[in-house]
């Protein structure tokens, strides 16, 4: 497979025209160019094939270029891809209805958006209007609800607030899983609690059983709205269709995205309970419902993906294969305790919690050499980053065993490295984005 430009020219263009820091990362990692995808595989320009356990942090629930989804995308693309403002396509209604029936609970308004962060923002605007007599939003430390400027005001990964001055005075952060702290923060009631039913991102954490049920009860008692961010967990990733099902609760507002994309288009939605929709219809709370989300191709992709998940019993597979993957990773964690702290997660939402960002960088490199992609936290300062393994749910047990073998080889290779070399590399990792690009360019190139 050929490139339009040379690899070095692409890196130069990347540096100048897109992202100088990404160019540094690519140069240090000798990163190749994606050219083709198929199922669980991504193939680069040199023809090297990788098993995709990164999946853009869980987007590819049904794999890359899933044939059922692809067919529907192509059909819709060729029939009608767009809808002007104020008009609707039949698939939008069909998808809304499908989601109302699929997600446990009694649902009213469904608002399509183009990204999870946009859907979070929309829910924030709604919460602020319908709970305007109150103050306060409670969110979890280390939580991730998107990085648009407005969504950042409830971002639990607080290191970003320093860079942008986005800390909102009305937002209280409590440690994830600590119900007593949450109770104190909610007090007599706040506008809303935002929670990921399983904490995603680089801080992957499954809460104790009953945590979400307790939050539901607390919100009911204090008339606080409960917003469940199922962007990462939904559509089977966590071993159930939705993570709220582990505690059998229904939130007031549900945010969905990654699985909804079908691996083809940017897509998200905010769902509002029937109770809310009756009392405060979205059309009255926000009459201008303009959005770029929910175009016909995205809806076709989402509907086909949901069909595929159902027909191929991917939720069950996620539970079974998730067990296989997690137990295998736990066995490796026990063998390499100097590198791996533990293996958090549930379903096919798991990973290795590593003893520092240097090990995350080393693991990514070693796995890459062995044809496996894992989800890097992209946080070079993280003390205990989770290198995520979020493969497509239709990955086979054989492929997972291969991933485990490659992971074992990678850990072995790292364990063999002299401690001093690891320490030196740690310095590089922690300061990698401060290295000028010109020092990283290939010798002899202009």
């Amino acid at each position: 497979m050929s490139l339009t430009l040379s690899h070095e020219q692409l890196l130069d263009d990347c540096q100048r025209h897109w992202s100088a820091s990404a160019a540094k990362l690519y140069r240090l990692g000798k990163t190749s160019v994606e050219k083709d995808t198929d199922g669980i595989y991504v193939t680069d320009h040199a023809g090297k094939r990788f098993i995709d356990c990164a999946c853009s942090y869980g987007v590819f629930i049904v794999g890359h270029r899933n044939p059922m989804v692809q067919e529907q995308v192509q059909t819709q693309l060729n029939q009608m891809a767009w809808v002007p403002e104020g008009r609707v396509h039949p698939l939008q209604g069909a998808l809304s209805e499908r989601l109302r029936n699929l997600v446990p609970g009694d649902w009213g308004d469904v608002q399509f958006m183009v990204s999870g962060a946009e859907a979070i923002e929309q829910s924030m605007r709604y919460v602020l209007k319908v709970q305007q007599h109150r103050r306060g939003i409670v969110v979890m430390s280390d939580s991730y609800h998107g990085k648009t400027l407005a969504a950042m005001s409830i971002l639990g990964q607080k290191q970003h607030h320093r860079s942008y001055g986005t800390e909102a005075s009305e937002v209280t952060y409590v440690p994830y899983g600590d119900f007593a702290a949450l109770q104190r923060a909610v007090g007599e009631g706040v506008r809303a609690v935002y929670v990921e039913p399983i904490l995603g991102g680089a801080h992957l954490q499954v809460p104790p059983l009953g945590y979400m049920a307790n939050i539901r009860a607390l919100c009911d008692a204090t008339e606080t709205l409960l917003v469940a961010d199922e962007i990462q967990t939904g559509f089977g990733r966590c071993g159930k269709w939705f993570a709220v099902q582990y505690d059998d609760i229904v939130p007031d507002i549900m945010i969905l995205s990654k699985g909804l994309t079908g691996g083809y288009t940017s897509f998200a939605c905010a769902m509002y309970s029937q109770r809310l929709a009756t009392q405060y219809p979205l059309s009255e709370i926000e009459p201008d419902q303009r959005t770029n989300g929910g175009h016909p191709v995205a809806c076709a992709s989402a509907l086909a993906a949901i069909d595929y998940i159902e027909q191929h019993k991917l939720v069950e597979q996620s539970r079974i294969n998730g067990g296989l993957l997690r137990h295998g990773l736990q066995r490796l964690a026990q063998r390499y305790p100097q590198i791996v702290e533990d293996v958090p997660g549930v379903g096919l939402m798991t990973g290795l919690r590593l003893r520092g960002s240097v090990y995350e960088a080393l693991m990514s490199m070693e796995l890459g050499k062995r044809g496996v992609h894992a989800g890097h936290s992209m946080n070079e300062k993280a003390k205990h980053p989770v290198l995520r393994f979020y493969p497509p749910l239709n990955i086979t047990p054989e492929a997972l065993r291969h991933v485990l073998t490659m992971t074992e080889e990678a850990l072995e290779a790292i364990a063999r490295r002299p401690k001093l070399a690891v320490k030196a590399f740690s310095l590089v990792v922690r300061n990698m984005y401060h290295i000028p690009n010109k020092l990283l360019r290939s010798k002899g190139k202009p």
Binding site: V59, L77, S115, E121, G263, N292
Partner: protein, 375 residues
Amino acid sequence: MKTNDKLIISGQYETYIDGNGRQIVDLAGGFGFQVPAVIEAVSRQADTMGLSNRVLMSEPLIALCRRLAELLPQPLVSSYVCSSGDEAFEGALKLCKGLKPKGKTIVVVQGGDYGSLSYGRCLSTPQSYLEMQRFLGFELVAIRHVRDLDKVDWNDCFAVCHTSTVTGEDGRLRLIEQVLLDHLYAAAARVSAPVIAVDVQSCLGSLGTLFGFQRYRNTPDIVVLGGPLGGSAIPIGTYTCSEQMAYQVYGRSSPAKHGSTTAGNPMACVAAMAALDYVQAHDLPRQCLNNGQILAQALASFGAVACGAWVSLPLPADLKPAELCEELYQRGVYVSAPRGRELILRCPITARAEHLQRASRIIKEILSHVFNPIA
């Protein structure tokens, strides 16, 4: 209105078929439906890859950013690709916040459409989003005249925003006064506050130039594109700034600082490049000017004025806009409901002249006879 009126089934360029099987000329703007060159390019990409897993380098993403650098004036060479123009506008504001995290004030040219995300809504219709603005903790100063610049606490200003057109207090769509922009750019430059040109709806030719901000003599610090950029195939948005500005905020930290899961995916980037190719190959900015003239001349007796391919049409005082829109629709012309006392007719960028002529005849007839029986 019949049940299936709002449904859209298929279409091409400026015309679509609704749920009742009727042909409707769309005057709500955008790129135009199902342009073969764009659809074919996206379809080819869909055969190879949809979204990216974001581990390896993406050729379409980098190619689009390079293309934008070639098209935009210096020093605008570094682009960030987002899932929509609205998201890109917030991205641009985020970049400005990154340059001045303690700044709280946004200066905005009043009467513009700044999109559907939270900041955009606060800027476009501040009275509807006072609680959101308070929650987000920023100050907003809306500018309509040069004298309004004196109201600004410039030391606290972290961003200055303007669109390419504004809706005046009378509801009329118009360009911004050049003198206002000159003063605004000068004031912003004195305190190093970046000026963002929001060119989401007006890019790709609608105003007669490839980018809407090119109707003015000022070069913005950041340009936001979106809307038609996706070729009415896949939504996409971008914001572009100088290499130096990009490096200052993002150059020494993880790319995740401005990242997004699906933004800049290959299908969206291919759609944008195909749309740009098509616009340039067919000289659509010139076609947009012609199309605007077709409508404006046909409706000149009603006071219609063209601004590129967009035409502002004043409505008689006794006319109910919703009833007019409904009547137009029943006769085969779709127009967005007006937000003031002017109907804004927006020809899609790829609209064909003969269909616009038909639409203009329908509009003229309705205004002359249905709503003005004396005429």
